[in-house]
């Protein structure tokens, strides 16, 4: 919200300078986001009367004016055609600086010297105050010879304020003035007192106001006759503009100025264009339509509160008026609405219809019902004083007054929160806010809450008022005294930390990618229909289609990061990992599964001084997975498996203690080329669940006797998995066989086509004694025989 400091000063005496005011407002909860002098560069112009106008002797498209600024007269040349003798205009004599910083000097127009220039609204920096093309005619109330800045009300400071949603009362100059007066004990609140006293009577020829819904407990109409729609007075236009609103016409501007002043939104109907001689406030019918004054047709539902006349909708209550009864240039009779609307009703309608109007903004944040009649009186008085119309009647329905509310404040709770339970101090502060009490008890007092502070309903609300005005700096910092238990990061975070440290130590960089991805990025992974990953949960209101569904896999984010790196010139190997949630639909709920994902690719430039040893392959990534799980004491096995996006020959399921926790896969070559990724790309995605409980609880026994090693070479068909052979050796090896390790794979000379040789080293050990060579030979011989019997060729 923008607030003119000059306007504020009309309503309250401010005993401090502007920076101090801003500081105090900010500290107490009204953040001053900016202090701006309007059109700060514009200076040196004066008001001047146009004395004479003549056509330039050599240039028929120009006029030569003589202008009179009291002590000083001058000659100006202008091309503007809107001036008449007697008009008061801003004159920028030589030395005057325009809003854009241009300095004005004398200028020759074919023999006629123009002493500076007469100015347009644009040159002053306020195009919004103009109501016609040409030079700014300032209108009534301006005398020649004044400084133009001062005359227009530009020697001001505009405060840009951020008002929190609980303080609807501060969305008005009167409310702000009251708040300022509470911040400084020396400040004096002046407020407003309209000369016209609000007094409901009858309205000739008007049938009456009917209120049918609790969403509108009070509704008043003021009538103006002989309305003459024209621009508002110049200073009113400037004031509106400084407050962030656009001048439109005298009647509309008056409603807006009063809203800014009092906080009560008003609406002006063209009486002649109302379809009936009544106003009825009721709930809309499902599907009922209204053309609002922004030119859009709105479809309403049964919860929208509607203003109707003659049975037809004329306004969405508190949100926006209808176009058909809008004020226009030929309006002659005006009905001015000032009503109280329920904040929830207005808030709901405003959001649903997408109309964030100033009125709806205020009603959503609660408008003091007691202000409705005052606002109407001030507006009618303002219009009358501008000659916009003659007040001719007043009618109201419903009850504006609120039940008195009291809230108790105890010394005990106040003392607990802010460190002092002094209720005299509290009362002094609260009374400055208009919150009063007649109590003098030192331990508990009951305070009357004014109608403009609906946000105060419990003791803690009063404590906040006392604490913020007293200053939070008055409370000394102190650590809480009693620690009942030690803090813990939990097993889940211990697992996360172990995983992250291990991954990083093995050369992975951690990435964080968005939880929402594009549906295409998931479709590209070719999940079949029954796979839960194929049907992600969609956002109802995504920012873009690229961020429109919740990820069911970490792969799209990882792949996106790889592509981003390659496009921004990263040429070396890419190793990235992410831990985070993926999301699945489970009935009406969404299930979140904690995953670890990784992506490794050799990159565009895989050259290395170490040759092939420097590049990545499936097995190097497998070792990373083993290490990551080992860091939490969990053993993993890779078994043949598949993924719809995985290379058919290079995909494994990862088993943690026998349970399937995910996959390691090279990306399908077809997808690699589709996504323009540098092959090969390895992906893994694993459940974090098994890592949460640390498996490293025990160690094995210390072995006292040495092992005896024997090697064995087997020839198997291509396609036979080493892990199967290994399992067979383990099965057949007998109780003395402690460990089997693959140490060589060989294809080529001596091995038949379509076969390969796998060489294992076997460790035999007896925990009770040293083994003799001959008994190991016997066991090994038996193993060889048994393998041979199973059709495995020995080398």
């Amino acid at each position: 919200m923008f607030a003119s400091l000059n306007w504020l000063k009309e309503l309250v005496d401010i005993p401090v300078d502007t920076p101090m005011l801003a500081q105090r407002l900010t500290d107490t909860g009204v953040e001053v986001e900016g202090l701006e002098v309007p059109v700060a560069l514009f200076r040196g112009a004066v008001t001047a009367r146009v004395v004479s106008i003549a056509i330039h002797p050599g240039r028929p498209d120009l006029f030569v004016l003589t202008v009179d600024a009291g002590k000083r007269k001058g000659v100006c040349v202008t091309a503007a055609r809107n001036l008449e003798g007697g008009d008061v205009v801003p004159w920028g004599p030589p030395g005057c600086v325009l809003a854009d910083g241009t300095e004005i000097s004398c200028r020759d127009f074919q023999g006629v010297t123009s002493e500076g220039m007469v100015l347009s609204a644009e040159e002053i920096g306020l195009p919004g105050i103009a109501d016609e093309y040409g030079i700014l005619r300032m209108g009534e109330g301006f005398t020649p010879g004044e400084d133009a800045r001062a005359a227009l009300g530009l020697d001001d400071t505009v405060l840009e304020l951020s008002i929190t949603p609980d303080r609807g009362d501060l969305l008005s100059m009167v409310g702000l003035a009251r708040e300022v007066s509470a911040l400084f004990p020396e400040a004096r609140y002046k407020g407003i007192t309209p000369a016209i006293q609000p007094r409901a009577s009858r309205l000739d020829g008007f049938e009456g106001i009917t209120l049918t819904d609790s969403g509108c407990p009070f509704y008043a109409l003021g009538a103006l006759e002989g309305v003459n729609i024209k621009p508002s007075p110049m200073r009113a236009r400037v004031r509106l503009l400084l407050s962030g609103m656009r001048p439109i016409s005298n009647v509309v501007d008056a409603t807006n100025l009063v809203m800014l002043l009092v906080g009560q939104p008003l609406h002006a109907f063209d009486d002649a264009r109302l379809p009936g001689r009544d106003i009825t406030v009721r709930l809309a019918r499902e599907g009922e339509m209204i053309l609002t004054l922004d030119g859009k047709t709105r479809v309403l539902d049964g919860e929208d509160l509607l203003i109707t006349s003659g049975g037809k909708p004329v306004a969405v209550a508190g949100v926006m008026g209808g176009e058909e009864s809008e004020i226009s240039g030929d309006t002659t009779r005006v009905l001015l609405e000032s009503a109280h609307f329920d904040s929830i009703k207005v808030s709901r309608a405003s959001r649903k219809l997408g109309i964030p109007s100033e009125a709806a903004y205020r009603f959503s944040r609660f408008v003091d019902p007691c202000k409705a009649e005052t606002a109407l009186a001030v507006a009618m008085e303002m219009m009358a004083s501008w000659g916009a119309g003659v007040p001719s009647g007043w009618i109201a329905a419903g009850e504006a007054a609120q039940k008195e509310r009291k809230v108790a404040l105890t010394s005990k709770v106040l003392g607990k929160i802010i460190g002092t339970g002094d209720l005299d101090m509290a009362t002094a502060i609260l009374e400055r806010l208009g919150i009063s009490t007649g109590d003098h008890d030192p331990s508990v007092r009951h305070y009357s809450i004014p109608s403009f502070r609906p946000d105060i309903s419990i003791e803690e609300d009063l404590i906040e008022e006392v604490a913020r005005i007293r200053g939070y700096d008055k409370v000394a910092a102190e650590l809480p005294p009693v620690m009942h238990a030690t803090g813990d990061i939990t097993d889940r975070m211990r697992a996360e930390r172990a995983v992250r440290s291990t991954a990083m130590a093995r050369g992975y960089s951690e990435v964080v990618t968005y939880c929402f991805v594009s549906p295409q990025s998931i479709a590209a992974l070719r999940f079949p229909g029954p796979d839960p990953r194929s049907s992600p949960v969609a956002l109802s209101n995504p920012l873009s289609v690229d961020m429109s569904v919740l990820r069911t896999t970490l792969v799209p984010g990882l792949v996106q990061a790889v592509l981003k790196n390659i496009s921004s010139g990263w040429r070396r190997a890419i190793r990235i990992f992410e831990t985070g949630m993926v999301f699945f639909r489970r009935g009406r709920e969404v299930e979140e599964v904690f995953k670890l994902g990784g992506c490794v690719c050799t990159g565009v430039d895989s050259r290395s001084p170490w040759g092939d040893q420097g590049t990545e392959d499936f097995h190097s990534v497998a070792a990373d997975i083993e290490a990551i799980f080992a860091s939490r004491g969990v053993a993993v096995d890779l078994v043949p498996g598949s993924e719809p996006f995985g290379h058919a020959g290079k995909t494994a399921r990862v088993l943690a203690d026998g349970r399937d926790v995910g996959y390691l896969s090279a990306l399908k070559p077809e997808i690699e080329s589709e996504m323009e990724l540098p092959a090969p790309v390895f992906l893994f995605e694993l459940d974090m669940g098994p890592l949460v409980h640390d498996g490293k609880a025990t160690f094995g026994e210390v072995r006292k006797y040495p092992p005896v090693f024997r090697d064995i070479s087997l020839v198997v068909k291509e396609g036979v998995y080493s892990s199967d052979v290994l399992a067979l050796i383990r099965e057949l090896g007998g109780p003395l066989l402690e460990e089997v390790r693959l140490f060589d794979i060989y294809k080529g000379k001596g091995i038949p086509e379509g076969h390969r040789s796998l060489a294992y080293t076997l460790a035999y050990r007896d925990p009770e004694r040293t083994l003799r060579d001959d008994e190991v030979d016997q066991v090994q011989g038996r193993l060889r025989d048994q393998l041979a019997q199973r059709g495995i060729r020995l080398r």
Binding site: T164, G419, Y472, V537, F583, G614
Partner: protein, 347 residues
């Protein structure tokens, strides 16, 4: 020949002195010749043994032989040291370029936000807070109503929400975990909640997903002083030095009073009117906080008359930006390795 023991002492002292100055294999060879060579000092004494009386000869022989052995040992030991410094042909053959980059993978990198999160958590854990988690997909009750934000409350405008099907939504703050944790553990309670949150907003300083650290303390007789104490201890530790703090009135539906905490600018300490980090204000918004609203304590199933508490929420991405001097939030979510691996590089 005089007393053999005098000669031995003299020669031994001389030998030690000469040996200590010998600094090469050649010099050591010279020492050997001088003392143990054919005409060496010890050798000539040994030659004179025959001229000694029979009763003195064995004792003198023993002493001289001991001296000779001890010199040999000293010379051998020192020779080994110097000889080790010499390059053999084999070593020349086996030369490698020791300046090559190390084989294997380089050190990876933690994400800056994850790094800051870990540091922040450790600080609060030291103050007795434990980590709690909650779902990223929330329902309206936990994200709004349980936090004293009824439907159509204007406070909902403060946080633009992403909605899903069936009335579910992506949590707009980590605060829902407050109610969940109170219901799970009751009072007294000290929790911190790190996590992702989501708001419909996107520009240089806003991303639709970011990270918060929520904190909640519920106990008996908790005051604003305790809130300030915890948060100031945190700020001073995370930025590594004591920073001035200021507290401004604010509004959150789930705290009462509600406060904004600012700390002095970590870049300029308020001394640079043109500072880009604090925009010349000298202050940085660091956290929204306050005393937990009794309605929220009640929604958490705890008696708000006996217990009260405080809560705060802070943006971890923002703290990471401040700590590492970054000015664009969006880079956190692009996975740019040149950026992620640049920590420690001079800017």
């Amino acid at each position: 020949m005089g007393d053999i023991h005098d000669d031995v002492s003299r020669i031994e002292a001389l030998f030690r002195s000469v040996l200590s100055t010998a600094d090469s294999v050649e010099a050591l060879q010279g020492v050997r010749v001088r003392f143990l060579g054919k005409k060496g000092e010890v050798t000539s004494l040994l030659k004179q043994l025959g001229s000694l009386p029979d009763d003195e000869r064995p004792e003198a022989g023993r002493v001289l032989n001991e001296l000779r052995d001890s010199m040999e040992r000293s010379l051998a030991e020192k020779t080994r040291q110097y000889a080790g410094a010499q390059v053999t042909a084999r070593e020349r053959e086996e030369w490698i370029d020791v300046t090559l980059p190390g084989r294997g993978r380089p050190w990876g990198a933690f994400h800056p936000v994850a790094q800051v999160t870990q540091e922040a958590i450790d600080i609060f854990v030291s103050m007795g807070f434990s980590v709690a988690y909650g779902p990223e997909v929330e329902d309206d009750f936990h994200n709004f109503e349980g936090l004293n934000i009824p439907p159509h409350h204007p406070a909902r405008d403060m946080q633009d929400t992403f909605y899903l099907e069936n009335g579910l939504l992506l949590r707009t703050h980590t605060s829902p975990v407050e109610v969940r944790s109170m219901r799970k553990w009751g009072a007294p309670l000290r929790i911190i909640v790190p996590g992702k949150v989501f708001r419909r907003d996107s520009d240089q300083t806003h991303t639709p997903m970011f990270h918060q650290l929520e904190g909640l303390l519920v106990d008996e007789n908790i005051s604003l002083a305790h809130l300030k104490g915890c948060l100031e201890a945190f700020v001073n530790r995370i930025f590594g030095r004591p920073l001035k703090a200021r507290y401004r009135g604010s509004y959150f539906p789930f705290t009462e009073p509600s406060i904004e905490m600012d700390v002095e600018c970590v870049a300029c300490s308020g001394r640079d009117p043109g500072c880009r980090i604090c925009k010349g204000t000298g202050w940085l918004e660091i956290s929204g906080l306050g005393m937990t609203h009794p309605n929220v304590i009640r929604a958490g199933g705890i008696d708000p008359v006996r217990y009260n508490g405080f809560a705060w929420g802070m943006g971890l991405d923002r703290i990471a930006m401040l700590k590492y001097g970054l000015n664009d939030l969006r880079v956190f979510f692009e996975g740019d390795l040149a950026f992620l691996n640049s920590k420690g590089e001079r800017r």
